[in-house]
Symmetry: none
Subunit: 238 residues, 2 copies
DNA sequence: CCGCGCCCGACACACTTTGTCACAAAAAAC
DNA sequence: GTTTTTTGTGACAAAGTGTGTCGGGCGCGG
């Protein structure tokens, strides 16, 4: 994990979201918020989240169901929040795969302490989430996430640096979506952008040089003027 | 065991985890904590644990079940902790394969004494009852954990030093996962890293020289810039 | 159609991280 | 106790990444 951890708070009460967001921002965490399961999934697909604070009681799909479905596809650490301070909930929460449990009302000091404790015991971090090796196909390329290799259809392996690989993964997993530099920086490097950050531009340039037929007229990573970049080709996953 | 022993406390009560962690840290043990079976397995797969303190009563999978499943795949010493001071539990616990048994409440002095006692009778013990010999296969290699030998598919045996072997095992058992130098040092050497520790780098370099076709362009042990190393190939166990 | 301001591509350079070698320290073998 | 092997450390080279600059392209308003 390079930058400061990115925490997602999922709670339907605006006051709680704001409160938690302020408390965490003060501790130098990056914070996003979502009011329900749908918003949560949106945030998860738009940015790289290191830890989720999940309210047990939510409108629509409730916290436990969300927790279970999150666990099915990733291993982002989860801390459950709940109003009912009953032991039963704690047990249920931990069984669903939550990493810790915090009864409301809680002080910001305690919240921060729990978050740090949970993050500390996640050595690989959330970045290690896709435990399963995949192979993506696009254009004339195949990207193997297990071996971290980029293969051209003529069989040649093109070496990618770590940064190029991370950026390419972020793009390939979100094809045909405009991604801002800020998002890409978050997804690929786990940090947020400084005012005059051009590092993504440079990295895109280097990537294009490796995978475009004509880097001067890119067909794969296209520029959206004033917006960011789009991964243009269709991606087939295996 | 090279560095200070690494103890894992598994208990769902945070107060107990903290208490025990403090007591052990004071005695110069390294300590990790887990709230349930899932967290326990995560810690076990991320670091090298010398002894487990296991609470009998846990949410989800309970202590006895965990103890039994641990015994099935390793022989890490286990001390069972339990609130019920009944003799029955002791018998059951020891039958399940626990190495000792400590009724709550216990003083930190007694805890430390028991731990040291169990660890003292390990050195021969752990080596004397090694986990079943396995044979890992990857790329064009086979790694035999019984004979501690590395065999190339043309039949040649490549000699590995103890350190090279330990490092390779740490990597082979966690394929396609990014492992930090700190983790590798813990897994392979049982100690934690100093600020400017480069010993893992040299050891990786030596390993590559032995098992990569082209050590200058490694396909097996890959570098993650700013992150650590990844064991890239698929590993088949036998 | 033209000029202006802003955004992006490319390159050079500084800085950080990693590879590797030689050598010393430590451990193991003899 | 000596020799041999292995492991850690320091130094330097190589690679990867981010920042600054320059110049060209894009959108916008006239």
């Amino acid at each position: 994990m390079q930058g400061s951890p990115h925490i997602l708070i999922v709670d339907d009460h605006r006051e709680i979201r704001d409160l938690v967001a302020r408390a965490l921002a003060k501790e130098n965490f990056r914070v996003s918020a979502a009011a329900d399961g749908r918003a949560m999934r949106k945030v998860l697909s738009d940015s790289r989240i290191d830890l989720i604070l999940l309210d047990l009681m939510l409108p629509g799909e409730d916290g436990l169901a969300l927790c279970r479905s999150l666990r099915a596809e990733s291993n982002i650490p989860i801390i459950m929040l709940t109003a009912k301070g009953e032991e039963v909930d704690r047990v249920i929460g931990l069984e669903m795969g939550a990493d810790d449990y915090l009864p409301k009302p809680f002080g910001s000091r305690e919240l921060v302490a729990r978050i740090k404790a949970v993050l500390r015991r996640m050595p690989g971090g959330a970045a290690a989430a896709p435990a399963r090796a995949k192979r993506y196909r696009f254009d004339r390329w195949a990207l193997d996430t297990g071996a971290r290799e980029l293969l051209r259809d003529d069989g040649v392996t093109v070496p990618l640096s770590t940064g190029e690989y991370d950026l390419l993964i972020a793009l390939v997993e979100r094809p045909q979506r405009v991604l801002s530099r800020d998002q890409l920086l978050d997804l690929a490097r786990g940090r947020s952008a400084n005012a005059i950050d051009r590092s993504i531009d440079t990295q895109v340039s280097r990537l294009r040089k490796k995978l475009e037929r004509d880097p001067g007229d890119p067909k794969i990573i296209k520029t959206v003027w004033g917006g960011g970049y789009v991964f243009a080709p269709d991606v087939g996953a295996e």
